[in-house]
């Protein structure tokens, strides 16, 4: 990329006096002040009122009533994917746990209940007896997703899963699969769903 040199003479008298530029700046902020301030000064945060001021005009999202819908690449809470027959796709290979820089995935494998259905596919012979992610330690780097050979673990768009206790912040297999049920159509926030765990 060619570098373009722009020369700006900041040593003009106008700039040196400051006042003109300061005044221009003040006008600009005043414009914004009036735009938002005039419209929202009296708005209280209920959903109905929040609707009055469209999001085009403001950056604030009135959180519990309105929710931000993340972009598709967003890396939020994990989920464990399942196949068409509701069997977990995970084969307990521990690639994710090995890749995880925060060391927050704990897996214990066992022979899967559906092993006999796949005599020629040793992959399906193994599944996780315990699969736990400690989301308090997770840094949401997405390496686990990257490492997974079975597309079993994925990061979803869910961002609001703060918990009241450390125990509740450890997501086990059931919870992670429940997250999959809630997010498999990618419309968690559009449909106004909520995580139905104990937090």
């Amino acid at each position: 990329m060619a570098t373009k040199t722009i020369s700006v003479d900041i040593k003009t008298v106008k700039n040196d006096v400051y006042l003109v530029e300061i005044f221009k700046g003040l006008l600009l902020t005043l414009k914004h002040f009036l735009k938002i301030g005039a419209k929202s000064a009296y708005l209280a945060p209920t959903e109905r009122r929040a609707g009055k001021l469209s999001t085009n005009n403001r950056a604030t999202i009135q959180y519990p009533e309105e929710k931000w819908v993340p972009y598709p690449q967003y890396r939020g809470l994990h989920r464990l994917n399942k196949d068409e027959q509701d069997r977990t796709k995970c084969v307990a290979c521990e690639m994710c746990a090995t890749a995880c820089p925060a060391d927050c995935i704990f897996i214990e494998a066992e022979r899967s209940p559906w092993a006999d259905e796949f005599p020629n596919d040793p992959k399906r012979e193994k599944h996780p007896k315990i699969y736990e992610i400690d989301v308090l330690r997770c840094i949401f780097c997405g390496f686990c997703e990257e490492a997974c050979p079975c597309e079993a673990i994925e990061l979803t768009e869910i961002y609001d899963f703060a918990a009241y206790s450390r125990e509740n912040a450890v997501y086990d297999k059931e919870k992670l699969e429940r997250v999959y049920d809630l997010t498999k159509d990618g419309k968690f926030y559009q449909e106004g769903r909520k995580l139905d765990f104990e937090f």
Binding site: E94, T98, E110, P119, P122
Partner: protein, 536 residues
């Protein structure tokens, strides 16, 4: 001696050795699957192909010996052979061998037990092509059960025949064979005859890929998460060198560790899978004492020992020091027996010291290669004998029976066993029975004081095996039972009897033992090293 050039390095080596041997002795890697130092050369995997100058074709390093060449034909006038495993031609051969081996290989490394220590993986990175050209479907070959301990993932097999040769040459049981032809080749057992020799676990170790696996380890951990501790097997008096592999303070598997003086590359299945019983045994966590009415109550080590000392001292007053008996154990380490002996002879002043051990069984097996499973299932009978100066416990038993001995200190350590036969009856005559044993058994329950202890995965020490070789065993996991080890308990006892005794570490105890005992003279804990030592 022939002078050769191997991958650019000039070496002078013995004639008759193979290229592969010379390479591995000199730290040069030549990839290979079917070659195993303890098995005959099969030369069937073709992975070890190297370029030998002057030979028309590539040669297999595992089967091509180093030779002298006549002076007229020396290469560059000085080298008998010039070998290159990295030449373009050799690399191309390695690539295509890898491609052939992977042609029908499932590459399901994510669920394969071998992943992480698999030659196929390693060589794919090092020598392989990196991608697959074949578009054809792979021939499916289902998983098979070969025997009580071993399963075969048939499709992962690269037909190196190591397992077959192992059964033929080491075990001598000829249980495995290769059947069928072409891409339907597979390892089979004879119909109705499962793979159940007592060394069967070793086939999983020598299998260079994840085809043969032990059912014990299957799915239980990924190998790169395992913490490895070298140790000595306590299953019999052979003292095989082992590697204890643990994860999260649990033993996941036990593998043989090469020691040519003892066990070569092998261990028996009893030692390999026996850890489960020891690990799952019911344990004593805190010292226990029994009151007059026979109730057991938990106490702490300090009070228990204080009471023991008080009792022993009063018994000593009534009778003679001789009335206190001591039983060392062939299942306890040299250090523990040494401390007990010291406690008896030096501190309490009783010469009534015996050696308690499980009977020698007649379960003695010698395999074709000479590998021997001993009938003596104690790991340290010889060492204990040398230290305690006693062959067995008979004398002590007799003295208890006729009332000469009123109190008894006893080292346990026999796995899965409390009382030995007749002991219950004999010990009921005692006024005081103090037991140092990790098991929660009938013995420790009937003892007046049972002080706890650790099992041998949890502590450090030395055993003297049947060949009179002193070897170290090491702590692999933290204790599931007592927090103090047997040597610590014994030393607490010694301190309680005699304030001048200073508690020292296991290595120090061994060094002291070496100073005091003729047999161990000249050894130090450090000098034992990885291979152990014989009497100097």
């Amino acid at each position: 001696m022939p002078k050769i050039k191997l991958n650019g390095r000039v070496l002078e080596v013995e004639a008759g050795k193979t290229i592969l041997q010379v390479a591995s002795e000199n730290g040069i890697e030549i990839p290979h699957y079917c070659y195993h130092p303890k098995l005959s050369v099969a030369g069937n995997c073709r992975m070890c192909l190297v370029e030998v100058q002057g030979m028309p074709k590539l040669a297999t390093a595992c089967s091509t010996p180093i030779m002298n060449s006549p002076p007229a034909r020396k290469i560059d006038g000085e080298f008998d052979m010039v070998i290159n495993s990295k030449s373009e031609e050799a690399a191309a051969a390695q690539k295509s061998v890898m491609e052939f081996l992977l042609l029908n290989h499932p590459t399901d490394c994510p669920v394969c037990d071998k992943a992480g220590e698999c030659r196929l993986q390693d060589y794919s990175y090092g020598y392989g092509r990196g991608y697959r050209r074949a578009v054809e479907e792979k021939t499916p070959k289902p998983k098979k059960d070969l025997g009580p301990n071993i399963a075969l993932y048939t499709q992962r097999c690269i037909l190196c025949s190591r397992c077959v040769r192992f059964c033929d040459e080491i075990v001598g049981s000829h249980e495995l064979a290769i059947a069928n032809r072409g891409c339907h080749d597979e390892i089979v057992t004879y119909p109705g005859k499962p793979l159940e020799n007592r060394l069967s676990g070793n086939v999983a170790d020598i299998c260079p890929v994840g085809a043969l696996v032990t059912k014990d380890f299957l799915f239980s951990a990924r190998v790169w998460n395992l913490k490895k501790t070298s140790s000595v097997c306590s299953g019999c008096s052979a003292g095989c060198n082992i590697q204890i592999e643990t994860m999260a303070e649990k033993i996941k598997r036990i593998q043989p560790k090469n020691n040519e003086n003892v066990n070569s590359y092998w261990i028996c299945d009893d030692g390999r899978f026996g850890y489960n019983e020891i690990q799952d045994a019911k344990r004593i966590k805190y010292p226990r004492k029994k009151d007059q009415s026979g109730n057991l109550s938990q106490t702490d080590l300090k009070t228990a020992i204080a009471e023991v000392v008080e009792k022993v001292n009063s018994l000593k007053k009534i009778y003679k020091p001789k009335a206190i008996g001591f039983l060392g154990s062939a299942h306890a380490s040299n250090e523990e027996n040494f401390l007990l002996n010291k406690l008896a002879r030096k501190i309490v002043g009783s010469s009534n010291v015996g050696l308690r051990a499980a009977e020698i069984t007649n379960d003695e097996v010698v395999f074709k290669s000479g590998f021997k499973i001993y009938g003596d299932k104690t790991p340290n009978r010889f060492g204990a004998k040398v230290i305690l100066g006693s062959e067995n416990a008979q004398e002590i038993y007799e003295k208890i029976k006729n009332g000469e001995i009123k109190a008894l200190f006893l080292l346990g350590g026999i796995p899965e066993t409390g009382f030995l036969p007749h002991e219950e009856e004999i010990f009921s005559k005692l006024e005081l029975l103090v037991v140092v044993d990790y098991l929660d058994s009938d013995l420790t329950q009937s003892a007046d004081f049972s002080l706890g202890g650790k099992n041998y995965f949890e502590k450090q020490g030395t055993f003297t095996n049947v060949q009179e070789r002193v070897q170290k065993f090491n702590q692999a996991v933290s204790s599931q039972g007592s927090f103090v080890s047997d040597v610590e308990i014994l030393q607490e006892l010694m301190v309680a009897f005699d304030k001048s005794w200073k508690e020292i570490a296991v290595s120090e105890i061994f060094n002291q033992l070496a100073k005091e005992n003729e047999f161990f003279r000249g050894m130090t804990f450090y000098k034992l090293g990885q291979e152990g030592m014989l009497k100097q």
